[in-house]
Symmetry: C2
Subunit: 375 residues, 2 copies
């Protein structure tokens, strides 16, 4: 069994241990030498070039992804050449373009923030006026807070209107939801239809980047989130792992915020905390193997992201202190060069009480951050 992954980031890196356990051969098509998934890197190249990607795909059972940036013409070219691609081009279109996603979710009748496609500053002002403040997103190319601005006037995205053709031909304006908290629903779906969902989690974001995850989300009626996850996976024909990020508004209603069609930061807790991790499940799903149990191994788990604090501290130098103080913590680092704000690793803790775990996790992170801090 041979799986090819386009993209050499930490998600491809974390698929590798799951592949080793299952005896699946993993090959990675990375953007550059020395990527995070360097261990499994088989080819370094340009994923926008169909001939390079097609030659990588030769002899593999299936192609999957570490990110959603592979252009549609490359994806369609692979499918035409008979390559199995999961998730497929039709599904990925919704993760590549937020306007396509909003339109499709509306067709499916799924709950989402009020939104509008805007092509001119005037159209944006019209959406802005009754609201005072809205969120504007570039339909393509955004992630981790990039391509998202909270604005009070159209002038604040004048540069985006100037570059509309590069950004998807229009902008997406959304109501700014005054949410109680953010949630994420992780789901896996096989080509033959089987679906498995992990317990819904709460995510804590900071500056548009995931900072912490609590699994399961405390005091939540799990039903609606699970239903939304399943409806998105089926409605969009997603294969592999899907993450549905949601707002819980003041009234407790869930609204779909973003989608990711691959293992996701909100699911890293599953490596230790679930019977089947999102990385193993993704491999099973894209190979159309039966999905594993998504039960949790403990009543609660917390994942704390490690972001670069400067251009020097790669955290390994602080293992002595942190491991001595936190023998129960699972430390993950991604082999990346240190850079301020960069996602460089995470820590997971399992236990009984989410609040205590969060406190311990943050303290373990401080031990790794050392004297530097992330302000």
């Amino acid at each position: 069994m041979r799986v090819g992954v386009i993209g050499g980031g930490q998600l491809a890196r974390m698929m590798y241990p799951a592949a080793i356990a299952l005896g699946v051969e993993l090959r990675v098509f990375a953007e550059s030498e020395g990527s995070s998934a360097v261990a499994a890197t088989t080819k370094v190249g340009d994923y926008t070039d169909l001939s390079q990607v097609a030659s990588f795909a030769s002899g593999l059972d299936v192609i999957t992804f570490d990110h959603e940036h592979v252009p549609q013409q490359v994806l369609l070219g692979l499918v035409e050449a008979g390559v199995r691609v999961h998730p497929g081009p039709n599904a990925l279109a919704h993760a590549q373009n937020k306007l396509v996603m909003r339109k499709r979710l509306a067709e499916l009748g799924l709950p989402q923030p009020q939104w509008k496609e805007v092509q001119t500053p005037g159209e944006l002002e019209e959406f802005l006026t009754p609201r005072g403040e809205v969120v504007v997103k570039t339909p393509i190319g955004g992630y981790d807070g990039k391509g998202v601005r909270v604005v009070k006037s159209a002038a604040e995205v004048a540069d985006w209107f100037d570059r509309l053709p590069d950004l998807g031909g229009a902008l997406l304006a959304e109501e700014k939801v005054e949410f109680k908290r953010e949630l994420a629903q992780l789901v896996a779906r096989r080509p033959s239809g089987q679906i498995a969902s992990w317990p819904t989690v709460q995510t804590i974001q900071s500056g548009g980047v995931c900072s912490e995850v609590i699994a399961p989300a405390p005091n939540l009626d799990a039903g609606p989130a699970l239903e939304i996850g399943k409806a998105v996976a089926e409605g969009l024909g997603v294969t592999g792992v899907l993450a549905v990020e949601m707002f819980e508004d003041q009234g407790g209603k869930l609204l779909v915020n973003e989608l990711a069609m691959r293992p996701h930061n909100s699911g890293h807790f599953s490596i230790e905390a679930a019977v089947t991790s999102q990385f193993e499940q993704h491999l099973r799903a894209v190979l159309d193997l039966p999905l594993g149990s998504t039960e949790l191994r403990a009543p609660a788990a917390v994942m704390v992201n490690l972001l670069g604090v400067d251009d020097d501290n790669d955290f390994l130098g602080n293992y002595q202190t942190a491991m001595a103080e936190f023998p129960e913590a699972k430390f993950h680092t991604y082999g990346k060069t240190a850079r301020k704000g960069r996602k460089m690793g995470h820590i997971t803790l399992l236990g009984e009480d989410a609040d205590q775990l969060l406190e311990r996790g943050r303290a373990a992170r401080s031990a790794l951050y050392g004297e530097a801090s992330l302000d």
Copy 2:
């Protein structure tokens, strides 16, 4: 942090996921191309050749092992050249030669079967006569039942007496313990002295090969096994993971059977069932990092070995059936070519009740074995 492993078997293979998580660079010196640890293989060569091993060690923080077969002169040559080697030559001498081990355990006053060093058939007959039946072992070169015979007369090991210089210059005769069951104590020790022990496990052997492991060993007063494990680790100066295999005799007394100074088949359960797996702990220990928690994640865990059933079935072809029936099972295969009787993988299950887990684990194994069976 760079760790070099001599030997490319499944133990090196299973160190790799732990290394990826910790951001430790793992390099493997394998005997041949296409070994089980192929993913991490950096060099293929002859581990009995000091110059090859020394060149592999260059730039690494520490050298450790997938097996105990590296000759003393190579180990000592590395140490003289300033290479950190864990476990060190002095400790490894006890795992390489069973007579050296028996003598040292006797000096330490640790409980073991009655034994005698024999150089002639006459000496063996003298040990045999009052007992009727004894176990004879070659001091060097044995593993997984090889180099061990249960005999009623010295004639049954005549071929070994003919080759004494190759086998350690003498044979080891031991009383045949009528044990109630077999146990194993897994311990990790850092060069700076810290020790961590996992719960003692019960091992079920078949034809001299580990077949199943139950963690923790049911109905056991854990104290004595933990004390023996600690005493061996400290008394022999072991660094890294140590497995002490023991008999529990009819009266409940523990007797040391064998030692392994590396991650061990009896500890594979720890990948999912312990907060820190034996593979992660081994890396921490040889790098002299603080040891992680050895607590179990569940009340009980069972590990079932997968042995080759023929020269064809590598089990991957039966994943569809087995995974559909056993969504809670953790399947591990080692990327080896099928060969009857070969250790090719294992399955781990976690839960409440060891008996039920054992039954489920054996059924999952049958599903992978398919129509073939191991007789």
